[in-house]
């Protein structure tokens, strides 16, 4: 249950983002979170509803996109998606891989 702490951080970032006068009442907050982060979107949404926010954020809904785990192989150089939690190159099955996506924790944009 790290969603509460993370959502508090998110709200504080959002308050900064909506402070300029040209930003209106926010409708949607777009987030990108890597699959490895184990965030539960429903819990995060529930936390977001509960946390006290300024007027511009009161109607905002979260749009959370979960990004897949992607690997780059150091042996064959190819990129592949890890479907299970065994990080093997999809082309040559090597374990000599780097995780290039799947750990994101990004506040992407807001729409109003």
């Amino acid at each position: 249950m790290h969603e509460l702490m993370i959502t508090k951080n998110l709200v504080s970032l959002l308050e900064d983002a909506v402070s300029p006068s040209d930003v209106g009442m926010v409708k949607t907050v777009y987030l990108e979170v890597g699959r490895l982060r184990y965030l539960v979107p429903e819990i995060m949404t529930a936390c977001f509803t509960q946390i006290k926010k300024s007027d511009k954020l009161k109607q905002a809904k979260l749009n959370l996109k979960v990004l897949p785990v992607k690997l780059r192989c150091s042996d064959c150089g190819k990129e592949s998606e890890a479907l299970e939690n065994s990080f093997l190159c999809g082309s040559c099955q090597s374990l000599n891989v780097d995780i290039i996506s799947g750990k994101e924790f990004i506040l992407k944009s807001i729409e109003w």
Partner: protein, 227 residues
């Protein structure tokens, strides 16, 4: 910014954990100045974090290493009491409802520690394999403890902490043979999510393998001093 008829859009592209990460950077800078190695020990509840930390103070003292411990727990100070009995310098962090230590907890706790000549700061995180993995607390490295009774499949279930760790300690190996735990399968599962990570097998209760861990620590402290 693009302004449409009734809609406007603003690209932000910032890490949600930006404020935590900024605090972690401040902590990392201060550890760099004092050349203190900071390790973040993470495991499930009951995997043996406190028992391991109880065992190492006399060995570290003999090796001439000055160290301190920050121990995290939601509510109790049981762990700090246990570690205090070993004569080690220890500060309890009570995280309340938080299931992990974040950088802000560390920043307030380290004000109680004298960093002059401190070689090693050990952080015992709250028992949990998911949440602590997500938070940078300014450490040099995360170390994960997996104990035999938990089962050999944990690296597959909680991959992030295993990919983020610089060392895996396989604890309670004295119970191998008594429990349905496949050691080779466990190693395969660990390597499956972090192929380069070293694994040290130990029993913090019986003391087997602790020397290997101390050897790893001393080497890591040396690397930090040379940086």
């Amino acid at each position: 910014m693009v302004i449409g008829a009734h809609m406007a859009f603003k690209v932000i592209k910032k890490s949600i954990l930006k404020s935590n990460d900024n605090t972690a950077c401040v902590i990392r800078e201060s550890m760099k100045k004092s050349k203190t190695l900071m390790i973040n020990i993470i495991s499930s509840p009951g995997a043996g974090k406190t028992t391991l930390i109880e065992k190492i103070p006399p060995i570290l003292k003999d090796a001439g290493i000055r160290f301190a411990v920050l121990t995290g727990d939601c509510f109790t100070s049981n762990d700090a009491t246990r570690i205090d009995k070993t004569g080690a310098e220890v500060v309890q962090i009570n995280t309340g409802n938080s299931c992990h230590i974040d950088a802000e907890f560390i920043r307030s706790a380290i004000s109680e520690i004298n960093f002059d000549g401190l070689d090693l700061l050990i952080v015992e995180n709250v028992g949990n394999l998911i949440c602590p993995a997500a938070f940078d607390i300014g450490e040099d490295c995360k170390i994960v403890i997996l104990s035999v009774p938990e089962g050999d499949d944990k690296p597959k279930k909680y991959p992030l902490i295993f990919t983020e760790s610089e060392l895996v300690l396989l604890n309670k190996v004295d119970l191998l043979g008594y429990l349905p735990f496949d050691r080779d399968e466990c190693v395969k599962n660990i390597k499956g999510v972090n192929s380069k990570v070293p694994i040290i097998e130990l029993s913090s209760l019986k003391g087997d393998g602790i020397d290997a861990f101390i050897g790893w620590l001393i080497n890591r402290i040396k690397i930090k001093k040379e940086r």
